[in-house]
């Protein structure tokens, strides 16, 4: 059964008398227990998509389409039902753990308010036992100290572990992780990847990872969903540049050094990132694509199943040979 079901999702942001299209018609099904990663360059709409799943979009966002999480229609849900979806159905961790934790409240307060929000008033002892268990579960060895700390007293890695503990505090089926390692040191990144792997196994989670790093995506997910200009460009098990069927995916693999590569230069795909606005009759990637021809510039490719379970939005999957 599909635990996440997105159909025809459009999200645009109101900005000074015009709209910025961020997600431009995304449909997507993720099965229970599956690990999927949404990848793509900055601004392609990954975070917007992730936030839309929990209806966490800012006020200026306008949505159309449909999101079902574990059988519940998210956009039609009232406040109480939304509260259940957030925490009970899906937990979420964010890019910058330092900014995601409230600086004025202790770890104890922030983890316990999540528990009481879902289980109602709970005995102090029980709350503490549960919190400590969640923290140790998130790989924190001195859980007692962390429990009594304030966010600024913790390192980035510990903060992200706390976020993970909070996200899992109400036993969700889904974990959405939006760039969970981007703000962390390289060594800490690897630890968080290990943690997510472990949590995914132990809690039988459906994992939705948002990242711009295809190697990280492959470390955690068996299915990669590549987005370009607010649309899905490729969706399938893509392990490397060679198995990528969309030229954009192949280019993404090339620019990102692998996790253990000694040189971690920042490289970019030449050309400008297309905005999701474009609605012309051409492939959004054509200005940057080495294979682009007249057809690509005069016709819009659709997302097609090229191999079983592998979808590509390109006229020439795998490039012209």
């Amino acid at each position: 059964m599909d635990i996440i079901n997105v159909s025809n999702l459009y999200v645009k942001y109101a900005a000074r008398k015009k709209y910025n299209m961020a997600v431009n018609g995304v449909s997507l099904d993720i099965k229970e227990g599956e690990s999927a990663a949404i990848a793509g360059e900055s601004g392609c709409g990954k975070s917007t998509l992730a936030s839309a799943l929990l209806k966490l979009l800012p006020e200026n966002a306008q949505v159309s389409g449909n999101v079902m999480l574990d059988g519940i229609d998210v956009f039609a849900a009232g406040e109480e039902q939304l509260r259940k979806i957030r925490g009970n159905t899906a937990g979420m961790i964010f890019q910058d753990p330092g900014a995601s934790l409230n600086p004025l409240f202790s770890v104890k307060q922030q983890i316990e308010e999540a528990i009481t929000a879902h289980f109602g008033k709970t005995e102090k002892e029980e709350l503490k036992r549960k919190s400590l268990e969640l923290l140790s579960d998130a790989g924190i060895t001195d859980a007692q100290r962390v429990y009594n700390s304030y966010p600024h007293q913790l390192s980035g890695g510990l903060q992200q572990r706390v976020m993970a503990a909070i996200a899992l505090s109400c036993g969700p089926k889904i974990l959405i992780a939006d760039e969970p390692t981007t703000a962390l040191d390289v060594t800490v990144q690897a630890q968080i990847v290990e943690l997510l792997k472990k949590l995914k196994e132990e809690h039988k989670l459906t994992l939705l990872l948002i990242t711009h790093d295809l190697h990280l995506a492959n470390a955690l997910a068996s299915r990669i969903i590549v987005m370009y200009a607010g649309k899905i460009a490729e969706d399938g098990a893509v392990k490397s540049a060679k198995t990528a069927l969309h030229p954009y995916t192949a280019a993404l693999f090339k620019i990102i050094p692998s996790l253990d590569s000694p040189k971690r230069h920042f490289e970019v795909i030449p050309g400008e990132v297309a905005s999701a606005e474009h609605n012309g009759n051409f492939c959004a990637f054509s200005p940057r694509c080495p294979y682009a021809d007249d057809r690509c510039r005069s016709e819009k490719p659709e997302l097609k199943e090229v191999k079983p379970g592998h979808f590509v939005r390109c006229f020439y999957p795998g490039g012209k040979k």
Partner: protein
């Protein structure tokens, strides 16, 4: 935390020293002077007697050595006595202190309480009619000249309509009243001075709270709080509100000098028997020891206000508490 408070206290000492030094010089260098105002009008005084008077009060010495004398006496809590009625300065200030404290503490409490409420409503109901009404009110409150407002209120509410007493702190027959009557009498005298002293600060603080709250609501931790499944109420009034109050605490600490400065004007307008009016009266007659007494007391109050704000800030913000 203890170290933090101790540090703040130690830092207060040079500030106190600086305030008194500067004030001392300013009032002693002001044209006029005690003898000019209080003796030269009198045709019976000879230049000789003025000289004797100046010598008696030590006014013939250089200002710096006068300050050193004053400072030396003051640190032993001897503030001297008034040149005018020869009562100890400490007594004169002490008997005026409660009236000033009463008015200012009540005013601060009102400003804080209603300022936070208005600011939060404004932020939560941003861009609605409620927000716009509050914005207009704060705009008026902030830009209205308060001394003018004081006179207008006195004229219409007290003189024309006779709803409230015109001035003073209590009625003449206060001593013969029962306790509830006394309280009622005091409150009725408090209404206008409170409105006038609070309105500017209220407008200011509510603007401040609003922007703090709007800022807090845009933070990542607010989104994370929603993502945990907290209710809107909890997110607004627990997660965000505390953060939006941080700048307000600092502001309250900083507003004490303004309140004391305002006391000079409003206590005089409303004939409020507080320190501000005492300062005004002694300034007119160049009663140096009393002026210095009031200034020192004002400086101490300011520093106490700042210290209270610092402590409150540390109590709210763990980043300061556990540095």
């Amino acid at each position: 935390m203890k170290r933090y408070i101790l540090k703040r206290l130690l830092l207060a000492v040079p500030v106190l020293f600086g305030i008194t030094l500067i004030t001392f010089f300013i009032i002693h260098l002001t044209p006029g002077g005690f003898t000019a105002v209080n003796m030269q009008m009198d045709i019976r005084t000879s230049p000789d007697s003025i000289e004797r008077m100046r010598h008696l009060y030590g006014l013939d010495k250089p200002v710096i050595s006068q300050y050193i004398d004053w400072f030396g006496r003051t640190i032993t809590f001897n503030f001297g006595e008034s040149f005018i009625d020869h009562r100890p300065v400490l007594h004169k200030v002490a008997e005026r202190l409660p009236a000033t404290l009463l008015l200012n503490i009540l005013s601060l409490a009102l400003v804080f309480f209603f300022g936070v409420i208005l600011g939060v409503i404004s932020a939560v109901k941003r861009n609605t009619a409620v927000d716009k009404i509050i914005t207009v009110f704060t705009f008026i409150g902030y830009s209205i000249p308060t001394f003018w407002l004081a006179l207008i209120l006195m004229l219409f509410v007290s003189v024309k309509a006779g709803l409230l007493p015109v001035s003073g702190m209590v009625s003449i027959d206060f001593d013969y009243m029962t306790l509830p009557q006394k309280i009622g009498d005091l409150l009725s005298h408090l209404v206008l001075p409170l409105i006038v002293t609070s309105i500017g600060g209220l407008a200011y603080i509510s603007r401040f709270v609003k922007s703090g709250m709007v800022e807090a609501l845009s933070q990542q931790y607010v989104r994370a709080a929603y993502a945990k499944g907290l209710s809107r109420k909890t997110v607004l009034y627990r997660s965000a509100l505390k953060n939006s109050l941080l700048p307000v605490i600092t502001l309250l600490g900083m507003s004490v000098p303004g309140l004391i400065g305002g006391s000079f004007i409003f206590e005089t307008i409303f004939a409020w028997p507080g320190m501000g009016r005492l300062a005004y009266e002694s300034a007119l007659s160049f009663d140096y020891p009393v002026i210095m007494g009031v200034v020192t007391m004002g400086a101490v109050l300011t520093l106490l206000g700042n210290l209270a704000a610092d402590i409150a800030y540390a109590a709210v913000d763990p980043r300061i508490r556990y540095k």
